[in-house]
Amino acid sequence: MVNTLAPEAAEGAVRGRPSAGPAVGGRTRARRRQAVVAWLFLAPALLFFAVFLILPLGFALLLSMSRWTGFALGDIQPVGPANYTGLFASGSTFLVPVLTNTLLFALGSVALALAGSVVVATCIDHLHLQGLWRTLYFLPIVTTVVAVGNVWKYMYEPGGLVNGVLNALGAGSVAFLEDPDTALPSLVVVQAWASVGTAILVLTAGLKSIPGSYYEAAALDGAGPVTVFRRITLPLLRPSLMLVCVTQFLTGLQSFGLIIVMTRGGPGGATDVAALEMYRQAFAHGDWGAASAAAFVLFAVVLAVTLAQVWLFGRKGEDA
């Protein structure tokens, strides 16, 4: 072992003895060269972050507090928080229905995907050929949103698969995507369908990490399967559940590719969500300021929802 010291300590030691012997001098040189190499290796990534992360963030922040509806950079006029207050002014549709749609879409798809994946993952755990099942459930995830959206859009049509099944069962056809009442729930189903594979994967890994002895002990106590599930599986699955919840919420709150493909926010704004509204304000209406403000508000919502979940899961963990 050449050096187990923390880098700070080692450097401190070198600095402490400026007139050390040649061996130490060689080590300093090596150390210096290593630092140079390190920064060189990091340079592409850091340069990228500077230009395409920090700079855009700052630019977006500036835009969100400016009035700019044109294309020449010189026309940007700072106006303070007007774009933000505009989003929440009386008559603005941003809070209702856009933001409520966003939350409903995320909440619905997370709830559906979570329920489905918990059930399926628990069941898969008892079966042979687990890899095969997981592969099947995984197919939607490696498919582009354009394929998912178009296939489901077609399946929801009057002559599509879903209505075909409904009619075969004797029920009437439903105009899933055309009716403002059913459009958002229909999209929620697709989003959940598309994301259930990841959730199953994460939960399966969580289930595998629960020691078998717990189940044996429960069986000795004569606990039924429901009790076992509620008392042992669910509590021990909490970290995996939290991971699924947090990541799926993140995806749900910012997803709008599926909505662009399937409904473009219609009918009559029934499936309009915040990220889509941001996209439209910018690239259809050319209102860069309002778009940037909407993006930051959505970012705040994403952060709040994520922190709330972490806090909620953490607190329940202490209770148990």
Binding site: A35, F48, L73, G116, T135, L136, V244, L250, M278
Partner: protein, 289 residues
């Protein structure tokens, strides 16, 4: 204990769920063979009357598939290559090289994963458009189209990935220092150490990261839509297929679109089935899909 009886109920649940997952794909494939006027008519029929290949011909003809394929392949290849390279280099520096500010840089890389992509759509596009001295722009980024008019624009926002750096760093930490030091004593420079020792050792992780990146890049839609709107010459497959529906004989729009989708989904599906072990591990590691 848990597998005493044959789990009928579990089989029922899992098979039902699997059918629900796969049926839309089968419907896509079946519809892609349906003849004019056959899709979307009542009553619904799952199987086509005849396996008609003409939809695939129409999709190929309408889509200008070679160009779309080339754009998708180039963008995906550039993104994947760049992510692997930058993640591996930066990961190595953060895991195995000693320098002042390492912790700070590491924390910074972690924090980049916190920002959702929608925050960047508008500013990144405008920054590319006003890129100085590119695409006819002057030094102040005025007058031309900047980088938006190049195929590079498709790839730019995805060239470096905070998660990729994190992933590589975590794996490289576990490489024993003795191995690296031995190589250094033998006179290998840091670059040689990275290339000859660290890269081979982390090959499985690289495959995982590469696959994750590849699938995401191949399927990317929103940014590609924006860039293709500015310059139709750099349109990718998903964007092209989404536009396709406006340009096909209405009597057979759906089958032709489905044929195009089958063609676009196929490469990534094959790759996934071949390398799913790596992909699955990647998803577990990231938990971020």
């Amino acid at each position: 204990m848990r597998r005493r009886r044959f789990p009928w109920l579990s089989y029922l649940v899992v098979v039902t769920g699997a059918v629900l997952t796969v049926v839309p794909f089968l419907d896509m494939v079946m519809t892609s063979f349906k003849g004019p006027g056959e899709a979307g008519t009542l009553p619904y029929r799952f199987l086509p009357e005849a396996f008609d290949l003409s939809n695939y011909r129409a999709a190929l003809h309408q889509l200008n598939l070679p160009v779309l394929f080339r754009n998708s392949v180039v963008a995906t290849a550039v993104i994947t290559g760049s992510v692997l390279l930058t993640s591996s280099l930066a990961g190595y520096a953060l895991a195995k090289l000693r320098f002042r500010g390492r912790d700070f840089v590491f924390r910074f890389v972690l924090s980049t994963m916190m920002f959702p992509p929608f925050l960047f759509f508008v500013p990144r596009f405008l920054i590319l458009a006003h890129w100085p001295l590119a695409g006819g722009n002057d030094l102040l980024g005025r007058g031309g189209s900047g980088l938006t008019a190049s195929i590079l624009a498709l790839a730019v926002p995805f060239l470096v990935n905070g998660f990729g750096i994190f992933l590589m760093r975590q794996f490289m930490v576990s490489i024993p220092d003795e191995v690296l030091e031995a190589a250094r004593v033998d006179g290998a420079g840091e670059f040689a150490v990275w290339w000859r020792i660290v890269m081979p050792q982390t090959a499985p992780v690289l495959v995982t990261l590469g696959l994750l990146t590849f699938v995401d890049a191949w399927n990317e839609y929103i940014w590609a839509l924006l860039v293709s709107t500015a310059d139709p010459d750099v349109m990718t497959l998903p964007v092209g297929i989404q536009l396709l529906q406006d340009h096909v004989d209405p009597a057979r729009t759906t089958p032709v679109v489905m044929a195009g989708l089958v063609l676009s989904v196929l490469p990534v599906l094959v790759l996934f089935l071949l390398l799913q072990k790596y992909y699955v591990r990647g998803v577990m590691l990231s938990g971020l899909k």
